[in-house]
């Protein structure tokens, strides 16, 4: 388990694990990679304005920012699967269990905020990303699976369970995006943001990225 105070430290410590942990090595559909299973990361108190742009290839910053932004963007559901799942989940059933007759949509984020306000200690405050009817056979299924939010003492704590993350390119956008969602939910619920945790089933690095990671770790050590 990694427990740190900032997103950048969480990322760097996660990458360090690849030098100290026993790794699964295999050929993925994209190429050779090494993997850590079930990595748990807890970021105690992330700084809201942490500058992360120097840490990853600057040429990719726009794409990464856009992905991170998808956690907050209800107006972009056509272009982002994350946005669609969070803000316009395809609703198949009414609250009484009867099937819906039209194309109803469910805003999961609005529902989470309502429940934090009415029942802050609830253990049912869960958001789903994974749609079993779509993602099971999808060639590129969503990486985040399910998130939970809880605020028993007036401080919001959240956890995101992730199916799979490219540790080099995917970690920061995932952490930053979910952290932004966490902060927004805290703000709109009128409570303070607390820790954010991530449980990542497959935290992996493609071998073509290993020398770049080695350079990054060397720079961070110096």
């Amino acid at each position: 388990m990694i427990e740190v105070d900032s997103i950048s430290n969480a990322w760097i410590e996660g990458l360090r694990q690849f030098k100290t942990t026993e790794l699964n090595r295999y050929d993925s559909r994209l190429g050779p990679c090494v993997e850590i299973e079930n990595l748990l990361v807890r970021i105690r108190n992330p700084r809201a304005n942490e500058d992360l742009t120097k840490l990853y290839p600057s040429r990719l910053s726009l794409v990464i920012d856009r992905y991170a932004g998808s956690f907050l963007d209800p107006d972009n559901v056509e272009n982002s699967t994350n946005s669609k799942r969070l803000y316009e989940w395809r609703k198949g059933f009414n609250n009484d269990g009867t099937p819906t007759n039209d194309q109803q949509r469910l805003n999961q984020v609005a529902r989470v905020i309502d429940r934090i306000v009415s029942e802050p200690g609830s253990r049912q405050n869960v958001v789903a990303f994974w749609d079993p009817e779509i993602d099971w056979t999808h060639p590129n299924p969503v990486a985040p699976l399910v998130a939970s939010f809880k605020a028993p003492a007036g401080i919001l704590h959240s956890t995101l369970i992730v199916r799979s993350v490219d540790a080099y390119l995917g970690t920061l956008p995932m952490f930053v995006g979910f952290r932004k969602l966490h902060d927004r939910i805290a703000q709109e619920s009128g409570i303070r943001p607390g820790s954010t945790s991530f449980l990542i089933w497959s935290y992996h690095v493609y071998e073509m990225d290993l020398p770049a990671i080695s350079d990054l770790l060397d720079r961070e050590n110096s």
Binding site: L23, L30, N140, M208, A212
Partner: protein, 307 residues
């Protein structure tokens, strides 16, 4: 013409070894294999040892060249302890950085072009970038090592197709391997993985003429860009017909002790066990080492005794 092939895998299996040997015998002067490659760990110790030995043998005759990127091995130290393969080509940190930066630049340029804007969001999210960088990395490394084509397994090939749908011409190597399998079956040529390394080395002297002829046939009229099945059948037909015709043109004389002269029938040439049992004597009929007939490789393979 020289042909080099690039491969990038963590683990290799018996099927991969078959593809390596087939490429070494029929197609390529060199196959560039990462020095971090290992036999699949789920295989038995005996199988793993055999695969590593085969890799070293192929390296010893120059068919395989091992490459590595500086800075990779530190992460893979645990497995490096068990097997140590040599290194022929090293991509330095500076060269790696140059290639990597170029890959990312090219990726973003293409992305902007196809999405019409750099700020456009794709529904694929980061996966789009991850997939793209891998495909472009493979092509960049192929260029860096001076290889002509990439040996892809089915899964990797699917990944490349997803990224470059409609842009990539079919791989000449992929279609060549399919034609070779078809020709081998029709001419009853046994599995080349059964050859000893000495036999492989010997066969490789006939490989360039066969390979050049094969690729010329595939590329004739640009046909390989269209109907893959038809091209495989048509090219295999041509090679088999030419091989049979070539054999019929020859009068083979056995140098038996009693000076008996024997003319061999087509059936005997193609399927006879006697051919295999007398392969050394058959190869006296012509100056094979300097001949450039494409058919000689197939003839040689049919005559090689199997272990």
């Amino acid at each position: 013409m020289q042909l080099g092939l690039y491969i990038n895998k963590a683990h290799i299996w018996s099927d991969d070894v078959r593809e390596l040997v087939q490429s070494a015998v029929y197609l390529a002067e060199s196959i560039y294999v990462p020095t971090t490659v290992r036999a699949a760990p789920v295989l038995s110790e005996e199988e793993q040892t055999a695969i590593h030995m085969r890799l070293r043998e192929l390296h010893s005759i120059g068919a395989v060249k091992f490459w590595e990127v500086e800075g990779t091995k530190g992460f893979l130290a645990a497995q490096a302890e068990k097997v140590n393969l040599p290194v022929d080509l090293v991509v330095s940190r500076e060269q790696y950085k140059e290639i990597y930066d170029k890959v990312i630049d090219r990726l973003m340029e293409n992305r902007s072009y196809f999405l019409t804007s750099e700020t456009q969001v794709s529904t694929e999210g980061i996966a789009e970038i991850v997939r793209g960088k891998h495909v472009l990395w493979s092509f960049a490394m192929k260029e860096f090592l001076g290889a002509n084509d990439i040996l892809l397994d089915a899964v990797n090939a699917q990944n490349s197709m997803l990224f470059f749908t409609g842009l990539l011409a079919p791989s000449v190597v992929g279609i060549s391997n399919a034609i070779i399998s078809e020709v081998s079956m029709r001419l009853n040529i046994p599995d080349v993985t059964q050859l000893s390394i000495e036999q492989i080395e010997s066969c490789r002297t006939f490989m360039p003429a066969f390979r050049d002829d094969l690729i010329a046939k595939i590329k004739a009229d640009g046909g390989f860009k269209f109907d893959r099945t038809e091209v495989i059948k048509k090219t295999a037909d041509q090679i088999v017909d030419r091989f049979v015709g070539y054999m019929l043109e020859k009068k083979f004389t056995l140098e038996s002790p009693d000076q008996t002269v024997s003319t061999w029938t087509l059936n005997q040439l193609l399927f006879s066990q006697d051919i295999q049992n007398n392969s050394d004597r058959f190869f006296k009929w012509d100056n094979l080492s300097t001949s450039s007939a494409p058919e000689l490789l197939l003839w040689k393979l049919k005559g090689e005794p199997r272990a």
